[in-house]
Amino acid sequence: MMTRPSFLVSLWKFFSGYGLATFLLVLLGVETWLATLEMVDAGLLATLQKYFHWSSWYLIPYYNGKSMILPLPGGYWVCALLLVNMVLGGLIRARKGWKTAGVLLAHFSIVFMVAAGGVAQLFEKRGVMFLIEGEQADYAVSLTDPTIEVMELKDGKPLGEVHVAGESALRGLSSEDQRVIHFEDLPFDLEVGGWQKNAMVRKEGDQWTLKPLPVQIEGEMNAPGCGVRVISRDGKVGESFLLAVPPVSTGEEHYPLRQIEVDGRTFGIRLVKETIPVPYTVKLEDAVAEYYPNSMRPKSFSSSIERIGERAVPVEISMNEPMRFGGFTFFQRTMSSGPQTQGGPEFSGFEVVSNPADKWPEWSLYMVTLGLFIHFVTKLVTSIKGASRRRQPKQA
């Protein structure tokens, strides 16, 4: 007589089974496809936020600006469940033996690769550093993440450390939201409201207003703005004012500090794209943009820099040849545009990335290649042997 498996056994089989794996793989494929179509209109960052951010539990796809009605689970959670399924089914439940060594290794390396993605999403810092020949800097500026910086001022100069409300404190704010941001070491908090993803500050009559601008599909082109109220420790509402990141077109990194007085101390506040400090200084010596002759086709972009830490070291950074040092990687991102600028002052833009899992995908590639190779070759050999056995005449 057959006994029905217990609930726990059923649950185990469900979460480690091929059925769930197949369903999640198909679902992830469909969501990737829908996201690809949607990013044409909505832009990359907004689409990623919608489809693959952990805060997106479910989503309703849009195509050509029209809702597709069908709600789908958020891609981040589909991936998470797939990971659980892969660990349970592909590593724990799977038969262990030399015949399955390849597939086990392949599953492990995919888990490792997904882990690399997770580490990158949690800990990666990404910004840009623009330098004109002869200039130097020891920080990069985030492309997308806004941050509120508060610093105490004395005689107009910063005193002590900068207090920061970063991307995590401001994430998900909309124009209707009010959010109090608590600063542990300051005698006041800030209430942020009227958040605009892209805006500019302008004067209407005697009043300064925040004019919303269309949200750009290239997220790095947006300049956020908001209204801020100072709330002292005793709960009293103090000064109100506007903060904004300068629009990209102005070329400014930030507006002048907004100054406030609290308990007889002066503080400066500003909204900027997050500053990412780099543990050494980079000086641009020479930026070379080469174009194919008599054309606008870029041939090579390279920058000669001096990395100044304990000692100055000359380094060459070019397309496909980044500089990896001190936990940061510098990639050649942009150059003075077009051959017509030759002769004028050259600038170079580096993408600066700090990602602890930078090389993990590469290691996982070696493992997955080896794993799949072993597995499929084993399968092939078994299949050929089976076929030759079938072809042999049976002995009486």
Binding site: G17, Y18, G19, A21, T22, L25, V26, L28, G29, T32, W33, A35, T36, L37, M39, V40, L44, T47, L48, F52, M113, A116, G117, A120, R126, E290, Y291, Y292, P293, N294, S295, R297, P298, K299, S300, F301, M319, N320, E321, P322, T329, F331, R333, E351, V353, D358, P361, E362, S364, L365, V368, T369, L372, F373, F376, K379, L380, S383, A387
Partner: protein, 677 residues
Amino acid sequence: MKRTVRWILFFFGLLLFGGVLLTAAMDAKPPANNRVVEGYQAWSQETLDLAESFPVQDGGRIKPLTTYAGFTMLRLHGARSLTVSATENGEPIRIQPLAWMLDIFFRPQLAMQEPTFRVDDSAVLTAIGVTPRDRRDHYSYQEIEPGRDRLFEMAQGYNNIPKKERTGLEQQVLDLAENYHSYEQLLGAFSMVRGGLRMMPVEGLPEAADDAPKVAGVAEVMATAPVIRQVLQESQAKGGKIPPHLSSLLQQLLDGANASNAGLFLFPPAGKDDEGWLSPGERVMNVMEMKTRDVEGSVKDIKAIETLSRSIFDSEEAFRTELAKLKADVVERAQERGEYEKIELEAEYYRKNWLLYALSFFLIATLLAMGMWMTAGRASQWLSWGVWGTTFVAWGMVIVPIVKRCLIMGRPPVGNLYDTIIFIAAAIVLFGSIAEAFMRRRLLLGAMPIACVLLILLARLFEVGDARDHMDPLVAVLRSNYWLTIHVITITLGYASGLVVAVIGIVYVLLRGLGLDGGDASMRRSLTRAAYGMVCVTLFLSLVGTVLGGIWANDSWGRFWGWDPKENGALMIVLANLAILHARLGGYIKEWGLHLSGIALSAVVTFSWWHVNMLDTGLHNYGFTKGASYIMLVYSVVGLLILFGLAMAWWDREKTAAARRGQQRETPELGGKRREA
């Protein structure tokens, strides 16, 4: 009955195949444009042979004139030939790219009457005040000239509209304006040296007795550049005006140099480190503005093209003599710079047209395959050898151009979308042959040439539609032979094996769905094993290729994964293969399911390989949107095949279930009647 069905299918297949060929041919063929160009005489083959490998610089590299002419004509005319006749009802004369370009350079009065410009929507001409003929037709430079100013004015306005927001008409106005401008640059390349410079009488000197205007050669004037500069300096020092005869001369020189500044980069520079070849206009202005030390060489070059462009008025033979002299000089200088080695090879590559030969052999293989499937026994065996033979000859004719392109470009075989098409055609034969070797059913053997015919036609259509030289050098970020070799080739092989899975699926669905396999379970298993094996190969190549792409992106752009459409497409192929394998292992799909999934995989490959390039977004964006209707056609065919397969699978299952029920009723233990053995 089965035989009748086979014949019906054979004819339908033939009809369909013919239909595809005809559609492709019609699409590639321009409308009839046999216009009268009074007194037109075709160039002799000797002249064309001589001009074919004349080196010029274009698109950032040195290439033979034939390549430059071919792609320029494709862009402006939409085809590689046009026809004219010298008189009403005269014999049509076919003008091919090189002859067309020589006309523009040296016989502009004829060239301007040739129907060069392809206009797809006559509304463009109406908008610029030119009376159109058919909705889609070709027009000469002269026919469009009355609306020239209006055309450029409108184009200037439309240029400010973002590309995505332009209407079709606005885009066509822009395209026509760009083509017209390019043509004028070509017309201007030799215009200055052909006509010379008209000399005004010098003030204060008695005029010559005859009234004929004096004409000076450009080279002559260049040789007197120091004198001209001295006169200019003296008049400036005295605060006076530039003498009118000199002012007129300089203005003509400036206009002529501007006109011949960008159409043709003909002369290798004197400096070894200088990469940019020089146009006639640059040669002139560099001397006049004292920007070159190579004054003597510049004057000699201009003198040579002056003589050349005037010699055509004497005879074509005289022209050929001068052309040979100029070519010998330019080639010698190019050789000294190491820039001529691949020119002859490239000229030969285009002359031979290997892919056309390959197409012919694949077509023969297709017809033989049809015969092979229709017959049985020894005849089928013989025909199968014919299919193997012709397919391998055709395959060789695909491999030869791939190798030649690698040699010419100095890089691995796949660097752009055009490269992928011919590479995938070659890879399909390779994968298909391996799968056929395992199966030995002659099914994939016949399907391979059909797939390759379609791919080569696609390559030709794409070349015509895109009208860009696909051998031009790669942009900075792609210039890595290491990554091009290991990532791009792997991922492209993944596309090819994915398509082979789909081909096997289509064969299975048609055979079983239409009852052509005679219920041969062993054949079905054999197809299923081949499909399963190819899914494994596709997964391996796609997964490794995708991760390699990620590692390259990490080195180039600073991120492993950017959700770029091309990356997403590659990921979708990996996910689709993984889903198929897991569903198969879990027993959720069996034979029908595996093959139907395989057909669906072709839609995923099509999306990744082609469709994402048309989305006009992302770092891999190729910036073209033509051909979307073909993509939709592919999706529709895939959808229909899957629907057909699903219906047949359901019907098959019902039939089997009914048979099983019948069998059960007839089992004695269950009360049925005992049947005689």
